[in-house]
């Protein structure tokens, strides 16, 4: 009916937010329920002061670093394990025995070894990101059409070159599924790890969005700010996934079915 389409999709969310605000205004003044207008005010303050962007950048930097480390190892191991049976037979039991251990369960170990700063956070991220990537890389390699490998073999191409020029690109769509799952997990784990490490009054905290949330919770009891952080964490995750999808289309213009 209307000339623009978007208002329709926004009717429900906007109505819910208005209801939430109205309900909040009926509560006594110092209740702890966050209401939209307060959250908005808090968001403006946190962004304008640069605190939230800095914290996000710090967390993102750790995710990026841990992700690169995990990605490099998972890619090389996954390609070799998927392509050469003996490699898989030897490494699979090791990997499978670590897989059920949740990233956050490694935190005590990480802190003892690496302290509470960036190295421990990167370690947790890398650990979280590693498994979805290696599992999907192996599955992708095994799913590569045998015909394509045979075509390269009958052109005389050596095995290791085939791994790079045929198996890797053919497995890329599946590898990318792993990358996206891993990225989601890595981002969740970094927030969890930073939250769990928390902060001690005079420094020694983890930094990042997670520590920020911890500080608001433990020292200031600012629910509005915590909600702002939660929303920010969600938006960042959304943005990362969109970025990865864009990268996927750019890297694999031939893979129509993955549009």
């Amino acid at each position: 009916m209307s000339t623009t389409r978007w208002p329709r999709y926004f009717i429900l969310p906007v109505a819910l937010i208005v209801l939430w605000q109205l309900w909040g205004m009926t509560l006594p003044a110092r209740s702890r329920a966050p209401v939209p207008l307060d959250v908005l005010a808090s968001a403006v303050e946190l962004v304008a002061s640069g605190r939230l962007p800095m914290a996000i950048l710090q967390s993102l930097g750790r995710v990026g670093l841990g992700f690169l480390v995990a990605g490099a190892i998972a890619l090389v191991l996954g390609l070799l394990m998927g392509f050469f049976r003996p490699v898989e037979r030897n490494l699979d039991p090791i990997i499978e025995s670590f897989r059920p251990v949740a990233p956050i369960a490694l935190l005590p170990l990480a802190i003892l070894w690496l302290g509470t700063g960036t190295p421990a956070a990167v370690f947790i991220v890398a650990y979280a990101a590693f498994f979805p990537m290696i599992v999907n890389t192996i599955a992708g390699v095994k799913g590569v059409e045998r015909r394509l490998v045979q075509a390269a073999q009958t052109l005389g191409v050596p095995q290791l070159t085939i791994l790079r020029t045929v198996v890797l690109p053919a497995a890329l769509p599946s590898i990318f599924v792993g990358v996206r799952v891993a990225m989601g997990l890595a981002w969740m784990s970094i927030i969890a790890a930073e939250l769990a490490v928390g902060s001690k009054g005079g420094g020694g905290g983890s930094g990042g969005v997670g520590e920020m949330m911890f500080v608001f919770y433990a020292y200031y009891i600012e629910l509005d700010s915590i909600v702002v952080c939660m929303i920010a964490v969600g938006l960042v995750a959304l943005a990362i996934d969109h970025g990865l999808r864009w990268l996927q289309r750019w890297l694999m213009p031939w893979a129509e079915q993955y549009r």
Partner: protein
Amino acid sequence: MSHPATTGPKLRLDAVRKTFTVPRSGAEVVAVETADLAIEAGEFLTIVGPSGCGKSTILNMLAGLELPTGGTVAMDGRKITGPAAERGMVFQDYALFPWKTVFENIEFGLRYGPHGKGLSTAERRSRVARCVELVGLGGSEQKYPHELSGGMRQRCGIARLVANEPDVLLMDEPFAALDAQTRIILQEELLRIWGETGDRAERRTVVFITHAIDEAVFLSDRVVVMSAHPGRIIEILDVDLPRPRTDATRTRPEFQALSQTIWNLIRDEVYRAATAAGSAGGAGD
């Protein structure tokens, strides 16, 4: 060109036997039973037979993609132990690299395989460009395989093989998935690319698989007829039709007589396979 180690045939199957073990039941399937065959250099040889008679298995052993369970497969007197650039292959389902353009697909063997060693980038490109023209793909170089028709994809598959200049061309039902018209055009083009009109000594060795009898007769110097269960060579026939083969070839009485002879050889088998497939679920592809 490589020089044969002996003056014998280009390719030789010597009492070749191939069995497969079915994974779950552990049962043994005899795909090929004691096949003997000598293929001369420059010969266009076709293998026909009902589905499941072991045609692909023989071709895969010639390629080195499968190894025989018994006997030997040899090229120029040397045992074949694995795939090599000397024995290139064209597949029924094309097997083009979907992430590569037509040009890059055709360039693939020269770029990453041994036959491109010693070629400069410019030399490699110009050879690829020549092959693009040879198969009539000019103007489609920058397209991806999914943008091509079946006929064009197979032209690309053939160009990829020809660009790599193998000694032996192995083709596994390359035209089976194409419509009848495209098929006839590609048959004639294949003969031209093979060098039908040129000097005999310039021709490469071709081993071509089909289940279409007319295709086998039209293309070949010799036709190998196989039967199934177990896969066996039952007859090897010379095709004494003049080259170059044209539309007129198909209407010649010798063409029709030979086609009929081959049909008589495998007819019972085809009927049996067709009815068995109905009752027993049938093996084969």
